[in-house]
Every structure is written in structure tokens, then in C-alpha cells.
Amino acid sequence: MTDVLVVDDDRDTRETVRDLLEDEGFSVAVAGNGADALVWLRANKAPRLVLLDLSMPLMDGSEFRRHQRDDPALASIPVVVVSAAGEMPEKLSLMAASGHLAKPVKLEDMLGLVRKFCPKN
């Protein structure tokens, strides 16, 4: 099963995060926007964590989160929100995420959160 679904519109960011997480032994899938992420989630077994960028084309992080929470099959998947720190605190708290990372992300912080939701058996 996939450990982490990385949702971010920037290709370089997606690939970097994927490489780094795979190097640490996690299995990773990626999506370029909220809509693609929903498609992936509905077609695959739930990952243990979603790393969600907030500003993306076609469907951004907030909208994705709304759809996810409305769908009983997907609502319980933990989501860590990645913001570029222009975002307002109210917006973030509305999303009720399981964690928050601010760009530019610190590797240790990201690994810490991923390990928390994807413990090695």
C-alpha cells in the first residue's frame, strides 16, 4: 500500500519530496492538483497520509479538503497541509488538518510527520 500521497502543482517539488521519502523507505504516489488527487484516491487504496499543497491549479488544497471530508470513504485519511505562509490562520484551522508544514519545508519536520503517520512495522 502507498504510504504517502504528495499533492503539489510544482513538478520539481513533487519529485524532490518523492525522492527523499523513497530514500527513507516510504512508498510514494504523486498528484499535480486537487482534482487529480481525488481521482487517485478513489481509484486506489487509501494512503496513510496525504501531504497537501494549498495553492494549485484546477482545484486547490481547500477545495480538495472539502471534497475529501464530504466523502465518507476518504474523510478519515490524515492530511498534512503545506502552505507557502501567505495563507491565513483561519483558513488553515478551517481545514482541520492533522499537521502543518510551512514552505520552504524543513526536511526533519516533514520526515517527523511522515514517520508519525507511517510507522515502520
Binding site: D9, D10, R11, D12, T13, E15, T16, V17, D19, L20, D23, E24, G25, G32, S55, M56, P57, L58, D60, A84, A85, G86, K103, P104, V105, K106, L107, E108, M110
Partner: protein, 376 residues
């Protein structure tokens, strides 16, 4: 002294024919060509305020069933907050005068000294002009600050994107060097991959910063072109190569048609920025369909066209997208700097050329850049 034959629309609140006549004479003697409408009560005043525009209201201090202060209130309540209001009075006590001035009357002129009327009117009109100028300047300033803040917010967001990968890559190297992590061994292939990614992100950052500097240069008129003999087809090929990955991700195929080489004397870096902007837009909004770039010679000019068959641009947006921070689609949906087209237009026009767009919503867009081959 008022300049010769200055028209003046006067709304006069006065019940005495005689006094009205004297007032008119004073204005004419002072160089005005007054068109005076006289009213004597509340209803008359309301009707006049509603039906026309006035330059000044002159009111007797007290009429049988109406006072200057009541008239003033009526004028202000009608929405004419800036309309100068003067009082003419036979004899007004000091306290009443102070009360009137505090209430917002511009000046009080004695009926026995109507020579003072015209200077008072002139001063009121001058003050009004200054007030309006100040208000407009403040609005322009507020708007400029708002635009700047939005720019900074977008800039911050944009800069953080390459910084994110950069920071992660560097930190992962540090971790591997410290012997931490279960990660892949720190071997040459991994080092090469990391170095390539870091180089790429620093290039992105540099490009972004240059764009921001260009914005500043363009607005302060310091866009100095560094012209040299350049092949536009070569520039187009370079831009396509640079955006290759991005195009592939979107599923768009890019074709370059036209002559094998088209020479001209242009600022290669700046024209490159324009090309990058147009092609990147075509990829972004092209819905994965083919993109065509054509370079043709048209006499002393060249025409560069970038055509996509994607979402297109509504007619009402086609001029707006060249605005400074505009985008035809909201920021929310297609993140990133909207300044590309604005800068592109500035650069092209600095070369003596122009950019035009033809587009149909749902039918794609065609951006045409016409450039004289050399400086005019």
C-alpha cells in the same frame, strides 16, 4: 481678479430682488459671467439641487421661513458635500457668524461690502480644487500600495517554490553526510541527481528575480535594451527546449514552423523572456493540445506567433490580461506571476514592436509579436 468671462453657475437663496441684483452686479464686475438661479425656500432649493449642477451656493443669512444654516444642511444632505457655500448678510452678530463658519459655511460677506464677494468665491473654488486633488492623490497612492502589496505576496509565494526543493535537497545531503537516515547511499549518481536539481532551482530563482527586477526597471523607464545581431529562430528553439519538460507534463506537443533562421538586432535576453512567457502560457492554458510557434519575415519586420488550441480568452479579458497583475483566470486556479504579458508588452514596445492577441473561448489563443528587425 477672476479671469475674463469666467462662467459661474450660482444657486442663490435670496428673497429680495434688489439684493439679488446687487449680487449679480458684484459678480459681473469681478469678471464672472454668472448664470444665477434664485430660490426662496426649502422646496425651491431641493428642486434646484436635484435638477442641475452648481459651482457655488450663495445664501442670505435669514429669509422669512428659511435660514442659511438650514439651507447648508439641505445642500450637504443632498450629497453635494464639496459644493462651496457662502453667506451674504446685512448684519450678522459675531456669535452667529462663528456658528455659521463652524457649521461649514465657507465665508460670510456683508451686503454693504459686496466687493469682497468675488475674492471669497475665488478662494472657495481654489480650496475645492486642492481638496479634490488631494483626495485623488490619496486614492492613487492607496491603490499603488495595494498593487505593490499584492505583488509582494505573489512574489513571496513564487520564490518559495524553488526554495522548497532547494532546501530539501541540501538538507538531505547534510543528513546523508551525517550518516543519518536509511536513505540511498551517497554515491555519484545520487550526488549528480541532487546537484542537477539544485542547479535547476537556483536557475529558477535567478529567473524569477530577474523578472522582478525587470518589472521595476520597466516601471521607472529604465529598460535599456542590449541589442545585438540575433537569430529569432534560435531563440525560439532554446525556449522550447527549456520548456520541454513542462510541455511533456501537460501533454502538449510544440511545433516550430517557418524559416530556418531569421536575423535581427534585438535584446536577446529580453526577447527570450517574452518567448518563454508566451510559450509557458500556451502550455498552461493549452489543455494538452498541440502548440505551434511560427517565425516569419514581413518586410522590415518579423512576426512571431505562438498559437494554442486550449481554453482561449474571452473578448472582455483580451485587453485586461496585458494589465500589470492581471490574469484572465483567477490567481486561485493558476498560481504564479501574472506579470508576464505586461512585461512582454513593455519589452516588445521598447523594441518598437507590438503584441496582439486573437482568441476564442474554447478555441485557443494566438499571440502575435511584430518586431522591426532593427532599431527604428
Amino acid at each position: 481678479m477672476a479671469t475674463l468671462a469666467q462662467p459661474l453657475r450660482v444657486l442663490l437663496v435670496e428673497d429680495s430682488d434688489h439684493d439679488a441684483r446687487l449680487l449679480e452686479l458684484a459678480l459681473v464686475r469681478g469678471g464672472y459671467v454668472p448664470s444665477i438661479t434664485r430660490v426662496e425656500n426649502r422646496q425651491g432649493l431641493s428642486a434646484a439641487l436635484e435638477s442641475e449642477t452648481w459651482d457655488v451656493v450663495v445664501s442670505d443669512y435669514s429669509l422669512p421661513r428659511f435660514s442659511a444654516l438650514e439651507a447648508l444642511k439641505l445642500v450637504r444632505d443632498s450629497g453635494a458635500r464639496d459644493l462651496p457655500f457662502l453667506v451674504v448678510s446685512g448684519s450678522i452678530g459675531e456669535e452667529s457668524a462663528i456658528e455659521a463658519l463652524k457649521a461649514g459655511v465657507g465665508d460670510i460677506v456683508s451686503k454693504g461690502n459686496l466687493g469682497r464677494l468675488v475674492p471669497a468665491v475665488e478662494r472657495e473654488l481654489r480650496d475645492l480644487r486642492v481638496r479634490i486633488e488631494r483626495r485623488e492623490a490619496l486614492e492613487a497612492l492607496t491603490q499603488a500600495v495595494h498593487v505593490r502589496d499584492e505583488f509582494l505576496s505573489i512574489a513571496s509565494h513564487e520564490l518559495k517554490t524553488p526554495l522548497t526543493s532547494l532546501q530539501l535537497q541540501v538538507q538531505s545531503l547534510a543528513r546523508a553526510l551525517a550518516g543519518a537516515g536509511t536513505g540511498a547511499p551517497l554515491d555519484k549518481p545520487r550526488l549528480a541527481r541532487t546537484a542537477a536539481m539544485i542547479t535547476r532551482q537556483t536557475e529558477r530563482l535567478t529567473q524569477l528575480i530577474n523578472r522582478m527586477l525587470d518589472i521595476s526597471r520597466v516601471t521607472t523607464g529604465r529598460l535599456d535594451l542590449a541589442r545585438a545581431e540575433v537569430d529569432l529562430v534560435r531563440l525560439a528553439k532554446d525556449a522550447i527546449e527549456r520548456l520541454e519538460d513542462s510541455a511533456r507534463d501537460a501533454g502538449s506537443e510544440i511545433r516550430l514552423v517557418g524559416k530556418a533562421s531569421v536575423m535581427g538586432v534585438w535584446d536577446a535576453d529580453r526577447i527570450d523572456a517574452v518567448l518563454t512567457n508566451l510559450v509557458a502560457n500556451a502550455i498552461k492554458y493549452g489543455e494538452g493540445k498541440p502548440i505551434t510557434i511560427a517565425v516569419e519575415e514581413v518586410g522590415d519586420e518579423v512576426r512571431l506567433t505562438v498559437r494554442d488550441i486550449g481554453i482561449g480568452i474571452a473578448p472582455e479579458d483580451q485587453e485586461r490580461i496585458f494589465g500589470r497583475f492581471e490574469r484572465a483566470v483567477s490567481i486561485r486556479h493558476y498560481g504564479g506571476f501574472g506579470v508576464g504579458l505586461w512585461i512582454s508588452r513593455q519589452i516588445v514596445e521598447a523594441h518598437g514592436g507590438r503584441i496582439e492577441v486573437t482568441s476564442v473561448p474554447g478555441g485557443g489563443s494566438s499571440f502575435a509579436v511584430l518586431l522591426p528587425k532593427r532599431a527604428p
